[in-house]
């Protein structure tokens, strides 16, 4: 469904992405891991042309975009297939939770107002925030705000949802709820790319884990082999630094949260 070839990006003289190749199939959940500064976020933002790459080819279904020669209408068409969830939520501060979700439906996708309201209500219900529909972002906790952010992206029913460290800005106790919501989307068969530091989540939910370091994809594999049988020395080193106990103990923490 989505294929990226030789994606490159330079900031001044510093080469952040040195040629990323990635393939995502329909229904896949791809977890993008790697140390800080490895270029994960830059790559994800580059896919949506929020900070466009310098060169490379993005193929999405039948649309093929050469990054260097992408026109605004190419970008608009590509973005229509994508939802984006931001690390710091980026909710529209002047709009309530439900208006945040409706905005894209009514203005962006020209859905009628009653239909947009119906869909927005349903999207909020899915993330468990129906009763917060008329709250402004400043009245929501970080976890609630991020769930609205996810509802806003998912309500448009995009073909793929890109999630940029969706839980990094949250208090630890709020992480579980958000991960649970993302897991629900995965269970529904949503295609997603998630940049994350939540190893247990990556292991449990992802179909494919991609490890990036210094602007390159070092290793990619299905989660079990990825975590239990890393091939490259760099990944071994990375995994050994994250306490194995941590991964084992905290796994399914979001499941626990639901049982409460």
């Amino acid at each position: 469904m989505l294929k990226v070839r030789n994606f490159k990006k330079k900031y001044h003289q510093h080469e952040v992405l040195k040629g990323i190749d990635i393939e995502v199939n329909q229904g896949d959940v791809v977890a993008l891991l790697g140390p800080s500064g490895s270029g994960k976020t830059t790559f994800l933002r580059g896919l949506a042309f929020l900070t466009p790459g310098d060169s490379g080819v993005i193929t999405f279904d039948d649309q093929k975009i050469n990054i260097e020669s992408a026109t605004p209408s190419d970008i608009k068409k590509l973005r229509r297939k994508m939802g984006f969830v931001f690390q710091n939520f980026n909710l529209f501060a002047n709009k309530t939770a439900i208006q945040n979700v409706e905005e894209g439906l009514i203005i962006g996708h020209k859905v009628s107002k009653p239909e947009a309201k119906r869909r927005a209500t349903e999207a909020l219900k899915k993330v468990g925030l129906q009763q917060y529909a008329n709250h402004y972002p400043s009245q929501l906790s970080g976890g609630q705000a991020q769930r609205v952010g996810i509802a806003r992206a998912a309500a448009l029913n995009p073909e793929i949802i890109l999630l940029d460290e969706p839980t990094s800005a949250l208090d630890p106790e709020l992480v579980a709820d958000v991960l649970q919501v993302i897991k629900h989307l995965a269970d529904e068969g949503k295609t997603m790319i998630v940049v994350t530091h939540e190893m247990a989540f990556a292991r449990d939910v992802a179909d494919k884990v991609v490890f990036m370091d210094k602007g390159l994809v070092v290793e990619q594999n299905e989660p079990t082999s990825f975590f239990d049988d890393p091939k490259s020395p760099r990944l071994k080193e990375f995994l050994s630094r994250i306490s194995a106990v941590n991964v084992a103990d905290n796994s399914f923490e979001y499941e626990k949260a639901v049982q409460k």
């Binding site: 973005r79 529209f92 002047n94 905005e103 962006g108 709250h135 402004y136």
Partner: protein, 236 residues
């Protein structure tokens, strides 16, 4: 202290309040859209217009109001006279034009420059992440600006717009130099017959104090009304 004079002059000066209010409000109302346009030019760094906007802003902000008024009032009518009557032969009585018009022009020029800076900084305080989010849900860049960014920027600009309005209100006291019959001019003229300047100044003081306080209350209310979404209500 001549109490009778104090009271008489007070009511005379009160009758001149509409002129003061007219100059202030007209200048700010003209300044709002044009100042916004100028801010837009500066933010988007629009070619050719950008350096002009920057030069205009710093020129207006760096020079004292008094100087602008004197310069403007002594040169503009003659300048217009040359253009309209000697070149175009329109036969408009430039020198008979109500000086209030000139006052409004001068104060508008000052308001535009200052408001453009107010708007520019207000727009820049809004996290660009919201614009990115808007683009990702299908809004065009222009829709993102007028539906998401600008409504929030306006709210954060309100206190500064209030300050500027207050400055212009106080600045209109200089319009007496353009023979405009506003509060200060009326009181000073009355005083000049009997040399009761102290009483006249007390009158002026009271009037500006009342007007200024009212303005502050209005803007505080406006700010509170527009920033409803910032109020932290305890979550249900």
């Amino acid at each position: 202290m001549n109490i009778l004079f104090l009271i008489q002059t007070f009511w005379a000066a009160v009758r001149a309040i509409p002129v003061t209010v007219l100059i202030t409000s007209a200048s700010v109302l003209i300044g709002l859209p044009l100042g916004f346009l100028l801010a837009w030019i500066k933010i988007r760094k629009i070619r050719i217009l950008y350096p002009l906007a920057v030069v205009y802003t710093s020129l207006m902000r760096a020079t004292p109001m008094v100087l602008l008024i004197l310069l403007f009032y002594s040169t503009l009518p003659s300048f217009l006279n040359v253009i309209m009557n000697q070149k175009l032969h329109w036969h408009i009585k430039v020198f008979d034009t109500n000086p209030v018009i000139y006052a409004i022009i001068v104060f508008s020029l000052i308001a535009i420059a200052n408001l453009s800076e107010v708007f520019r900084s207000a727009i820049l305080t809004i996290d660009p992440g919201q614009k990115e989010a808007a683009l990702m849900v299908g809004l065009s860049p222009i829709q993102a600006y007028y539906r998401i960014i600008i409504p929030q920027a306006l709210v954060s600009a309100i206190p500064n717009i209030g300050n500027l309005t207050l400055n212009i209100l106080k600045g209109t006291s200089l319009a007496f130099m353009m023979t405009v019959q506003e509060v200060t001019a009326v009181a000073k003229t009355a005083a000049s017959y009997t040399y009761n300047y102290t009483e006249a100044y007390i009158d002026i003081f009271i009037i500006y104090f009342i007007l200024g306080t009212l303005l502050q209350i209005i803007f505080r209310y406006l700010e509170r009304y527009l920033s409803r979404h910032k109020l932290r209500v305890k979550a249900v």
